[in-house]
C-alpha cells in the first residue's frame, strides 16, 4: 500500500513584522508564485489537490482557505485544511505527503500551503485562549485576564517555554552566554536568507545579553519575532518529481506524536509531566520517522537539520531529543562548531524560527529549507553536500511535535 512521495519545490513570501501591502490571499499567492518559479515546468492548473493551514485565531478569520480559493488556484479542486497550532506548517507538510502517498485516483501533485498574517490580530489574546479554559480558575483568585495572557504569551508562548528553558539549563549547566551564542548564529544566518525577518549580520553576544528579560532566562534579544509570511511546498510522485526538478527530495519518514498537555495538565490538576524538557513526543516521533526512513544512526546519517526553535535553548534541546546528539551534549557540540554553517551537522542555517516566526508557516519552513538544502537551492546553502536532512515542528501546549525525514535517495523498503 502507498507509494513514494517526493518534494519537487518549495517557496516563500517575504516575511516582515507587518506585510501591510497585501491581504491574506495575496500573501499566499506570493509564496505560491515563488514555489512554482522553482519548478518552472509546473503551472497552477497542473496541481491536483491542495492542503492549507494556519492558526486561525491570530487573524480573526475562521477557515480562511474558503476565502482564498481563487488565489490559491484551488477553484473546483480538492482541498483539505489541517491546523494544529504551532505545528500547523509541519502538519500541513505531512498531510501534503499523505495526500500523495494515499494514491487516490487522479491525485498525484499536491500543493501544501501554510501562512500567517499575525500583524492583523492580537497575538497575545490568540495565544492565551489556548489554555484559558483550563486556567480561568485563576480569575477567581483575583488575577485578571491581561496578567494571565502576558504570563502565557508574548512572542510565541514564552511563558510555557521558559519552564522548559530552566529545566534544560539545570540539567546541562549552560549559561545565558551559551544561549546568546546560539542567537547570534541564527541572526547572522538569517541575514543570508532572502525571505527571513530579523537579519542582523553583525550581532554580538554582548548586544544580546544587554537586553532586558522577558521572562527568566529569556531576554528580549533572544526571542523570536512575530512575522507575517507564507510558505508553500510541492509534493508529488517519484516519477513526476524527476520531470519537475533536477534533484527530487524523497520524503522517507514522517511522524507527529503528541505528548500530554503540559504544565498545568487537565483542568489545572497538575497531572502533567513534571519536566517539560523531557519531550517524550519528540523522542517517539524521531523513533518512528527514522525507522520509516531506514535511518539507524541519525548522528552520522543526517547531514543537515532544521529544528523548530523560537527560543535558543530549544535549538539545543531538539538536537538531543531528535536523536542527533546525546542527552546533555548539545551545548558542547554547538560550542565546538559542529552545528555551524561549515560544520559536520549544520543546524538552522536559515536563521531558524528564532529569526522568523510566522506561526502558521514556520513549522513548514523547517522541512522546506531542509529540502532546499538537499536540492542545492537554499538561500544560505551549506558547503557540504546534503543527502539526508530533517525538519521539525513544535507547538500546542508544549506537547505537539512534527518531524519529516528527507533524502535524495528514495526509501525502497515498502510495507
Amino acid at each position: 500500500m502507498g507509494r513514494q512521495v517526493a518534494i519537487a519545490s518549495a517557496g516563500f513570501s517575504e516575511h516582515a513584522s507587518k506585510r501591510s501591502d497585501v491581504s491574506m490571499p495575496e500573501l499566499v499567492s506570493e509564496a505560491i508564485e515563488d514555489c512554482l518559479k522553482n519548478a518552472p515546468s509546473v503551472e497552477l492548473g497542473d496541481i491536483d489537490a491542495f492542503v492549507n493551514g494556519n492558526m486561525p485565531a491570530f487573524e480573526g478569520s475562521n477557515i480562511p482557505e474558503l476565502w482564498m480559493t481563487d488565489w490559491m488556484g484551488a477553484r473546483n479542486k480538492p482541498l483539505l485544511r489541517v491546523t494544529t497550532g504551532g505545528t500547523t506548517g509541519g502538519s500541513v507538510a505531512i498531510s501534503g505527503y499523505y495526500t500523495v502517498a494515499a494514491g487516490l485516483p487522479g491525485v498525484d501533485t499536491v500543493l501544501a500551503v501554510a501562512f500567517e498574517q499575525q500583524s492583523q490580530g492580537d497575538t497575545s489574546v490568540g495565544l492565551a485562549s489556548v489554555a484559558y479554559g483550563e486556567i480561568s480558575i485563576l480569575n477567581t483568585l483575583g488575577i485578571p485576564y491581561e496578567r494571565i495572557s502576558r504570563l502565557l504569551s508574548a512572542g510565541a508562548a514564552i511563558g510555557v517555554a521558559a519552564y522548559q528553558a530552566t529545566t534544560y539549563m539545570n540539567k546541562t549547566r549552560i549559561s545565558e552566554e551559551d544561549l546568546a551564542r546560539v542567537v547570534v548564529q541564527n541572526r547572522r544566518n538569517a541575514a543570508k536568507t532572502w525571505w527571513a525577518h530579523l537579519k542582523m549580520p553583525n550581532l554580538t553576544i554582548e548586544e544580546v545579553l544587554d537586553t532586558p528579560y522577558v521572562q527568566y532566562p529569556l531576554r528580549y534579544g533572544m526571542v523570536c519575532p512575530a512575522s507575517d509570511g507564507a510558505c508553500v511546498m510541492l509534493f508529488t510522485t517519484e516519477e513526476k518529481a524527476k520531470e519537475m526538478c533536477d534533484i527530487p527530495v524523497y520524503v522517507n519518514g514522517v511522524a507527529s506524536v503528541a505528548n500530554e498537555s503540559a504544565v498545568l495538565g487537565y483542568d489545572g490538576s497538575g497531572s502533567a509531566q513534571i519536566d517539560p524538557s523531557m519531550q517524550l513526543g519528540a523522542i517517539r516521533s524521531s523513533e518512528l520517522a527514522y525507522k520509516q526512513a531506514g535511518i539507524s544512526f541519525p548522528r552520522k546519517e543526517i547531514d543537515y537539520a532544521e529544528v523548530y526553535a523560537p527560543f535558543p535553548n530549544q535549538q539545543l534541546l531538539w538536537t538531543e531529543k531528535l536523536g542527533l546528539f546525546e542527552e546533555g551534549t548539545a551545548p558542547a557540540m554547538h560550542e565546538a562548531g559542529i552545528t555551524d554553517f561549515n560544520g559536520e551537522l549544520p543546524v538552522n542555517c536559515s536563521g531558524g524560527v528564532n529569526s522568523t516566526n510566522a506561526i502558521g508557516a514556520s513549522a513548514m519552513e523547517r522541512p522546506a529549507e531542509a529540502a532546499l538544502q538537499i536540492m542545492g537551492k537554499a538561500s544560505n546553502q551549506v558547503p557540504k553536500t546534503v543527502h539526508t536532512s530533517i525538519g521539525s515542528g513544535w507547538g500546542g501546549s508544549l506537547n505537539l511535535i512534527t518531524l519529516m525525514a528527507m533524502s535524495d535517495q528514495p526509501q525502497r523498503k515498502w510495507r
Binding site: 500500500m1 502507498g2 491581504s23 493551514g53 492558526m55 486561525p56 480573526g60 478569520s61 475562521n62 477557515i63 480562511p64 474558503l66 476565502w67 480559493t69 481563487d70 477553484r75 473546483n76 479542486k77 480538492p78 482541498l79 483539505l80 485544511r81 489541517v82 491546523t83 494544529t84 497550532g85 502538519s91 498531510s95 499523505y98 502517498a101 494515499a102 494514491g103 487516490l104 485516483p105 487522479g106 490568540g126 485562549s129 489556548v130 489554555a131 484559558y132 479554559g133 483550563e134 511522524a255 507527529s256 506524536v257 503528541a258 505528548n259 500530554e260 498537555s261 487537565y266 517524550l280 517517539r284 516521533s285 520509516q292 507547538g395 500546542g396 501546549s397 506537547n399 515498502w414 510495507r415
Partner: protein, 379 residues
C-alpha cells in the same frame, strides 16, 4: 484504491444543551468506538480529530484533547473542516501503509457558543464582513431562491424534505429530541417563521451538541477485527470559489465534482440504480434536493420527484440527516456512521432493507462551498 474498512464507530446522542463537559463527550466517543471494535488504546496507530478553534472558543483546540481522544503518544493531527474531511485524512494515513488503525473523532458543543456569530468569521474580512449582509443565514436564502427560480420548484416541495427528515429523526434514538417531530406537516414547516426568505426555521439544520468517532483499518486487519467491516470504495472532494456571485447557486458544482471523483474510484456508472441509500449532510432542506440531483439520482430540477422515504426507491437521510441535529464538526462524520449502520443492518427502526451500497457526504462553507462524498459498500 486498496480496500480500507470502517471497523468500529460510536456516536454520542445529540443534545441541544448537553450535561457533559467537552472532554467527557470526546472520551465517550473514542472509548465507545474502541469498545465496539473490541480494541485497546495501545492498538491505535494514528488519531485525527476534527474541531474548530472558533467553535470551541480555544486556540489549538486539539492540544488538550490529546489524552481523552486516544492520542497520547500516538501520531495525531487535526483537520479543521467537517468530520467527514477528518475521515478522509485518516483514510489517507491508512492508505499510505504507515498506519494500521486510525481513530477519527469530531464534534463540538453548539450550546456553548453563538453559532451564527462564529460562522460570520468565515466571511471575507476585507469586503463582505464589515456589513455582514452575507452570512450563513442569508446565504441559505439566496441559494433556495436561486434553485426555486431556475427550476420552478415550490416551497412545498422543499418543505416536504423537512417533514420527511424530522419524521425519520423520530425513529432515530440518537437524534436531537427537539428535531424528532413524527407528526410534522408541510403547513407547520411553512408557518414556522422566516429564517431568511424563503427559508423557514424548520428547514434549517439545528446546531446542537455531540461528538462521534470511528475506526479505519486496512483490509487484512479489518477482516480480523470485525466480521462486518464496511469498505470505503471511493471518495471525492472539491471546493467551489468563495464569492456567491462567482457561483451558480441553483446547483452545487463541488458536490457534482466530488461525486464524479468518488464514483470513478468506486466504479459506479449509474448512481440512481446502484446506490441503495444516501446520507447527505444538508444544512438546509433545499440542499438535499440539489445534492441528489448533482449526484445523479435525478435530473436537474427534478430532485423533488425522487421517492426518498425509508421504504422508497432511493432513501435519503433515513436517520433524519442534519435536520435531525447538526453538531458542527461532527455532522459529516455522523452521516458516514449512519450509512455504515445501514450497511451492517444496525439501523433499527429506520433500517433500509437490503442496503448494500451507500453514499455519505459532508460539507463546509457557505452554501456548501466544499463537499466531500464517500461511496461505501457492505462486506
Amino acid at each position: 484504491m486498496q480496500k480500507v474498512g470502517i471497523v468500529g464507530y460510536y456516536q454520542v446522542k445529540l443534545y441541544s444543551d448537553a450535561n457533559y463537559g467537552r472532554y467527557e463527550m470526546i472520551f465517550e466517543a473514542s472509548r465507545g468506538a474502541l469498545d465496539k471494535a473490541g480494541l485497546k488504546k495501545k492498538d491505535i496507530s494514528t488519531v485525527i480529530s476534527c474541531t474548530n478553534d472558533y467553535y470551541d472558543g480555544r486556540t489549538i483546540s486539539n492540544c488538550f484533547t490529546v489524552e481523552v481522544g486516544g492520542g497520547y503518544m500516538a501520531d495525531e493531527s487535526k483537520v479543521e473542516m467537517d468530520g467527514a474531511h477528518a475521515v478522509l485524512y485518516g483514510l489517507m494515513r491508512v492508505l499510505s501503509g504507515n498506519h494500521n488503525l486510525a481513530l477519527v473523532w469530531g464534534g463540538s458543543m453548539a450550546s456553548c457558543y453563538p453559532y451564527h456569530s462564529a460562522r460570520l468569521y468565515e466571511t471575507d474580512p476585507t469586503w463582505e464582513r464589515p456589513l455582514a449582509y452575507v452570512n450563513d443565514i442569508t446565504s441559505a436564502g439566496f441559494q433556495m431562491r436561486a434553485y426555486m427560480e431556475k427550476y420552478g420548484v415550490t416551497v412545498e416541495d422543499i418543505a416536504k424534505v423537512a417533514v420527511k427528515n424530522k419524521k425519520n429523526a423520530a425513529k432515530n434514538p440518537l437524534a436531537l429530541k427537539e428535531a424528532q417531530l413524527p407528526n410534522l406537516t408541510v403547513k407547520d414547516v411553512l408557518d414556522s417563521g422566516i429564517y431568511s426568505d424563503p427559508v423557514t426555521e424548520l428547514m434549517a439544520a439545528p446546531p446542537c451538541d455531540s461528538v462521534a468517532a470511528l475506526l479505519l483499518a486496512p483490509e487484512k486487519q479489518a477482516l480480523k477485527i470485525t466480521d462486518r467491516p464496511v469498505w470505503i470504495k471511493g471518495v471525492g472532494y472539491s471546493q467551489e470559489p468563495y464569492y456567491l456571485g462567482d457561483r451558480d447557486l441553483s446547483g452545487c458544482k463541488s458536490m457534482n465534482l466530488a461525486g464524479k471523483m468518488a464514483y470513478a474510484g468506486a466504479g459506479i456508472k449509474d448512481p440512481s440504480s446502484e446506490i441503495d441509500v444516501a446520507e447527505l449532510f444538508e444544512a438546509c432542506a433545499h440542499e438535499e434536493l440539489i445534492f441528489a440531483e448533482e449526484l445523479g439520482f435525478a435530473k436537474k430540477g427534478k430532485g423533488a420527484e425522487i421517492n426518498s422515504a425509508i421504504n422508497g426507491d432511493l432513501p435519503i437521510n433515513p436517520s433524519g440527516g442534519a435536520l435531525g441535529g447538526h453538531p458542527p464538526c461532527g455532522t459529516g462524520l455522523i452521516r458516514i456512521i449512519e450509512a455504515v449502520k445501514q450497511l451492517t443492518g444496525e439501523a433499527g427502526q429506520y433500517q433500509v432493507k437490503g442496503a448494500k451500497k451507500a453514499v455519505a457526504s459532508g460539507q463546509i462553507g457557505m452554501c456548501a462551498q466544499n463537499n466531500i462524498l464517500y461511496v461505501l459498500e457492505a462486506n
